[in-house]
């Protein structure tokens, strides 16, 4: 009977430890809560060698801005050329280059189901002002069944933001934080 009481107490202590440690670990997680100190500026999409249309470039750019703002990973999301980015030193620049683009067709998708997918693959780089690459990922986005072709850009933007969330960003140094 006493051994049972001891084991129950041990379990209760274990649960208490886990509960107290978990939030700390989550806070200290991948990005250690430091990302909030960074601001990000989104650059227009570089078409690279692909034949991507301006419509898709603009859609990727706008969706990236929207998704980054929604994610609240950065203290501010700025557009390229935004005057409020002047003098900000803790600024990361998101550069996106299209690696491949396969235009699809909504009608083909509706009729055949298996063909007509729109596929996009981009290389996203987070750089500091001096050009140092902090994070680099190849991300893809596509639309295979339902929805218009531009939905691929929305999926892509979400995947880029997910990749940034999962990545490790360096700590913003005190000199960087000074505005």
């Amino acid at each position: 009977m006493p051994s049972r009481r001891i084991s129950l107490t041990a379990v209760a202590i274990g649960i208490a430890i886990v509960q107290s440690v978990l939030p700390v670990r989550a806070r200290a997680g991948i990005n250690d809560g430091r990302v909030l100190q960074w601001k990000v500026e989104v650059n227009p999409i570089d078409a690279g060698d692909s034949s991507i249309t301006p419509e898709f470039r603009v859609a990727i750019y706008e969706n990236l801005v929207t998704e980054l703002t929604k994610a609240k990973q950065f203290s501010a999301v700025l557009r390229r050329g935004d005057s409020s980015a002047n003098g900000v030193s803790n600024l990361l620049i998101l550069k996106t280059t299209v690696e491949s683009y396969a235009p699809g067709s909504e009608t083909k998708r509706a009729v055949t189901t298996v063909t007509g997918a729109t596929k996009l693959k981009v290389r996203s780089r987070l750089c500091t002002r001096d050009g140092q690459v902090v994070l680099e990922r190849v991300v893809d986005g596509n639309v295979r069944f339902f929805g218009g072709n531009l939905r691929a850009t929305h999926t892509l933007a979400r995947n880029v933001v997910k990749a940034i969330k999962q990545g490790t960003l360096p700590e913003a140094t005190p000199s960087n934080q000074a505005q």
């Binding site: 301006p54 419509e55 603009v58 706008e62 969706n63 557009r79 050329g81 005057s83 531009l150």
Partner: protein, 191 residues
């Protein structure tokens, strides 16, 4: 034996009847939706205001909001029934691009209807329930100097009218306009 044969025939004829019933009802549904879209379309040349859908990127308006596009003085104006009018100075526009794309009509209800139609009837509907739209993409700088882009969806033919108007105001337009100009030149040369 003959009885079972008759039953088989009855079964297959019933199934055939059901398939036909589904297809007929679906085909009745599809043209009505297309017709609704055509009703919304206005003659491009006669009206200076064009109905358009702001697909994304328009500051001060939700994505996919319907409204009317016009060029007033030196501003590109998108007005809606509800909500403020969005004005964009033409001088801020860096470039405009015109493209054309095929889209399924009817939206989500139609998509569910297609998916629910048995024996591949949905695919047959998908073959006919589509329509071409013009897409006008604008790249511009906002009041803070930030780069922005918006995409408008217009009825077929209206994009070219808008592109011509923008071109006349000194905005650099590319895309479909170039192709059509080339076609015009080729046809002129052929004559």
């Amino acid at each position: 034996m003959t009885r079972t044969k008759n039953m088989c025939y009855e079964g297959s004829s019933k199934r055939l009847f059901r398939i036909l019933l589904c297809l007929v009802s679906a085909s009745r549904f599809a043209p009505s939706l297309i017709a609704q879209d055509f009703d919304q379309a206005r003659p491009a040349s006669s009206s200076p205001v064009m109905r358009a859908r702001a697909i994304l990127g328009l500051d001060g308006a939700a994505n996919n909001s319907m409204g009317e596009l016009s060029i007033q003085d030196d501003a590109f104006v998108f007005s809606r029934r509800e909500g403020p009018v969005v004005r964009m100075p033409l001088s801020a526009i860096q470039g405009a691009f015109l493209s054309q794309e095929d889209k399924q009509v009817g939206g989500m209800p139609m998509a569910f209807g297609r998916a629910a139609t048995p024996y591949g009837g949905g695919r047959a509907i998908g073959l006919f329930a589509h329509k071409k739209y013009d897409f006008m993409t604008l790249e511009y700088f906002d009041s803070n100097g930030g780069f922005r882009g918006t995409i408008y969806q217009l009825n077929k033919g209206q994009g070219q009218v808008l592109a011509d108007k923008l071109g006349a105001k000194g905005v650099h337009v590319s895309g479909l306009e170039i192709a059509t100009t080339k076609q015009r030149l080729e046809t002129n040369n052929a004559k």
